[in-house]
């Protein structure tokens, strides 16, 4: 094994240009796939973050007593899928409205009394932040006797969920296509590199080299090229990510959303895939050459 490794490293040096081109091509393929994966995972996280913002506002009938309020809160809290219930008094709501209206808040000064009702703000658990589930919870709350009206952006929520679903489906499909294309490119790059050295393989056979002796270093080379290409692609992505993430993060600083690099499991998986793609390209080539 040590001899094969020694020969593989020497072969990589002897065929320096070919090896470099192979490694760069693998690195570029990995870069494209992992860049897409990075964009998609962050976009997905961002959508999940936005989904967490989905809430139901339940407006109470005027004159609801403190005891009644306590019972309603408890009843809502008991509904499956509800995470927390916050009471917003009509005074609090009025203050918020004043803050939101800023310069136009003078309009509110002319009002004789606060027209806003007491309300409950209801947030759902992560698994219940789907339009169907939100609608189901909203219907249950609406049917409670002390609830006058309910609001949760029905139309907007349905569109938002549909767009998210479409985005995820497109993301997984494109990711899958990119992945298959990258594996194909990597595998064929190694295959072509091995093909370029078919004369060398033929000479080795003619001077009495066994198949094991010929194949061993080629497999090791393909693994080295796959590893270096995979690591190179991830490294290039990381550097690019560091360079542009600070700019992008500034745009999201009010959103309490962090842009993250790929998880170690994910990029280790990508490197393993590039190793496998390299190895399989080498396997196919050698099988072709040694069969003749």
């Amino acid at each position: 094994m040590a001899t094969y490794y020694h020969r593989a490293v020497q072969d990589l040096r002897d065929n320096g240009f070919l090896s470099s081109v192979t490694i760069i091509t693998i690195a570029l393929s990995v870069l494209i796939v992992s860049a897409f994966a990075l964009f998609f995972t962050n976009a997905n996280d961002l959508m999940n973050y936005w989904e967490k913002g989905i809430k139901i506002m339940a407006y109470l009938k005027p004159g609801t007593s403190q005891k009644n309020l306590h019972d309603i809160k408890r009843n809502i809290q008991e509904i499956y899928g509800v995470q927390d219930v916050t009471f917003i008094s009509k005074e609090e709501a009025f203050k918020k409205l004043e803050q939101q209206m800023k310069r136009q808040s003078s309009i509110l000064m002319n009002l004789n009394e606060n027209p806003l009702p007491d309300a409950l703000e209801i947030r759902m658990t992560t698994s219940s932040q789907r339009s169907e589930k939100v609608e189901e919870i909203a219907t249950k709350i609406e049917s409670m006797p002390s609830i006058e009206d309910i609001e949760y952006g029905q139309q907007w929520l349905r569109r938002f969920t549909n767009i998210f679903d479409l985005f995820r489906l497109a993301g997984y499909t494109m990711g899958g296509i990119f992945f298959i294309a990258a594996v194909f490119i990597m595998s064929n790059t190694i295959r072509l590199a091995t093909y370029m050295r078919r004369e060398e393989i033929e000479i080795m056979r003619l001077v009495g080299a066994s198949e094991k002796f010929i194949k061993g270093p080629f497999y090791i080379e393909s693994i080295i090229q796959g590893t270096l290409g995979g690591m190179g692609g991830i490294a290039a992505l990381f550097i690019t990510f560091r360079l542009i993430s600070s700019t992008v993060e500034n745009s999201f600083k009010y959103e309490l959303f962090d842009i993250k690099f790929l998880s170690p499991e994910f990029y280790c998986g990508i490197i393993l895939c590039s190793i496998f793609a390299g190895w399989s390209g080498c396997y196919i080539s050698l099988k072709q050459f040694l069969r003749t």
């Binding site: 001899t3 002897d14 056979r205 001077v207 009495g208 080299a209 198949e211």
Partner: protein
């Protein structure tokens, strides 16, 4: 099916034919080559000399007939065992067949590496053989940087370094000047003097005259035994 017997022959051909489609390259060749023989196969270009050599090391299969090499019946050798047959030969190819990206040392060492020899032994042996063929100073050169004569000597060094039983040389002096041709011939003679069998395919009459040895003549695929 013919069985391998040790009757002093190292190579035996029995009614060997080779066709390429409808073209007959070799026709009904039967031949015995004894151990430690020096044989020339002469004939014009296209007579089938190179084809005959290729059949011996299973560079391609026979169309009909059988060949025995040092007790191995070539019809019975599996693809995975061909390397064992080829290790019996040292082959000097007409076009040298040196790996262009590897140094002279690495090209010659390849034969010993393939047979699992230790690194220290390989270093010593390759240097010694390159000294014998007179290109030790080119040990780290790449083949494209060598002259035709030097490439041919490197090819001979590779052929003899593994101490094979038989050397097959296909037009070994074809493109060389007279001095370089003499060096190659002396190397082959030296190998023969140490007990090896040599088969040279050539149309170079001067080379045959200088070397001596048995002469066979191939013409349009037919083998003749002059005189």
């Amino acid at each position: 099916m013919i069985d391998a017997k040790d009757n002093g022959s190292i190579i035996q051909l029995f009614h060997v034919h080779k066709y390429y489609g409808s073209k007959k390259a070799l026709v009904d060749i039967s031949l015995n080559v004894s151990k430690n023989e020096f044989i020339f196969i002469s004939g014009p270009s296209g007579a089938g000399k190179s084809t005959l050599l290729r059949l011996l090391y299973l560079g391609e299969p026979v169309s009909e007939g059988q060949i025995l090499v040092d007790g191995m019946n070539l019809s019975r050798i599996s693809r995975k065992k061909i390397h064992l047959l080829r290790r019996k030969f040292g082959i000097v190819f007409q076009d040298y067949k040196l790996i262009s990206t590897k140094t002279v040392f690495d090209n010659v060492a390849l034969v010993l590496e393939a047979s699992g020899k230790k690194r220290k032994f390989i270093e010593k042996k390759v240097r010694s053989v390159l000294r014998t063929v007179g290109i030790e100073q080119k040990i780290n050169a790449l083949p494209p940087g060598l002259s035709g004569g030097e490439q041919q000597r490197a090819a001979v060094a590779r052929a003899v370094v593994g101490i094979p039983k038989i050397i097959l040389a296909d037009e070994p002096t074809g493109s060389l000047d007279s001095d370089s041709a003499d060096i190659i011939l002396n190397l082959l003679k030296n190998f023969h003097a140490h007990g090896g069998t040599v088969i040279v395919a050539t149309h170079d009459k001067e080379l045959i005259r200088k070397a001596g040895g048995r002469i066979l003549h191939l013409k349009q695929g037919h083998l003749y035994f002059p005189g």
